[in-house]
Symmetry: C2
Subunit: 152 residues, 2 copies
DNA sequence: TCTTGACCTCAAGTTCACTTGAGGTGGGAC
DNA sequence: GTCCCACCTCAAGTGAACTTGAGGTCAAGA
């Protein structure tokens, strides 16, 4: 097979460490758009490996798949993204990561302070009035790190 | 009602921002152990508010409820924990938080480097051999930040 | 020729962290 | 007395992110 034929789903699985079923699921969610060969099988670009890695990293930061999709939608879907393409989406995204890291650091310090404070005055303790209360509305699992779809 | 009667589930909900149903669920999961009054209603200590806050913060760091339970099991369940009690569990837990933060920072830098690298040599790029591959086994949602129950 | 392996689809199952709903109790306020 | 409200239990539903299973295609190798 020539390089232009692209990679099979098995190749992508081997290269990314993702399960084949997960890759199919990601296609369904619009995170990748492989084309099909004559036999109806998925064919991927090498650049899709990077897309998948991006997904995996963003997930660790607590982004949901729809959110990641929004980021990736700013990349070209059917042409290999250039360095400039990636750099463009990187700017906003990196800021988001920094924000999440800072938030966790603040949270850790809050916990630190409160564990140490003894809290004879319960009302005054930061823990009892946390900056962001857990979302009370909606069902399903809570989004981590304060990144909920409805930031009301 | 005297202070010694403790707080109702509604009080706890109001003070923590958690839903009443969530508090009942947390009891079921062994995260809190309220006692019951004559009418069979849950009664909480003031210290339970702190317990719940701890749960909420730990969750934001990506800990699962069983993991949080393990941490909390090191506190006395039916007596109000002292400052020393909290300080004791704080040591190990704080280290875990620092580790998670460091991990995210490294991940962010990896992404940064890889977005900037152009990657003419795909094989050499750190993204194609991420330090920790996503778990391939098991069902259900992936645990965030590499903290899975079975660290095989 | 036959089998194996990699791929395909579509429906249903799974885990986590909850919420929702149905049906019931008990105590104040009017 | 009756109404409401806060609470109770237990079963079932929900959303996210996948996995598993059943049943089928197709090409390459023994």
């Amino acid at each position: 097979m020539a390089v232009s034929d692209g990679l099979s789903i098995g190749d992508i699985a081997a290269r990314t460490g993702l399960a084949v079923s997960a890759i199919r699921f990601y296609e369904e969610q619009g995170l990748i758009s492989p084309w099909r060969n004559d036999a109806g099988r998925r064919r991927f670009q090498r650049a899709d490996i990077r897309r998948m890695s991006f997904v995996m990293i963003a997930q660790q930061f607590g982004f949901s798949l729809p959110q990641i999709r929004t980021e990736l939608d700013r990349l070209p879907k059917h042409r290999a993204p250039t360095k400039a393409d990636w750099a463009r989406i990187s700017v906003a995204f990196r800021a988001g990561l920094d924000q999440r890291i800072a938030r966790l650091q603040k949270l850790r310090d809050t916990l630190d302070g409160c564990i140490g404070c003894g809290c004879l005055s319960l009302e005054a303790c930061a823990l009892y009035n946390p900056a962001d209360r857990a979302a009370k509305r909606g069902t399903g699992p809570r989004y981590l790190m304060g990144d909920r779809p409805d930031q009301s």
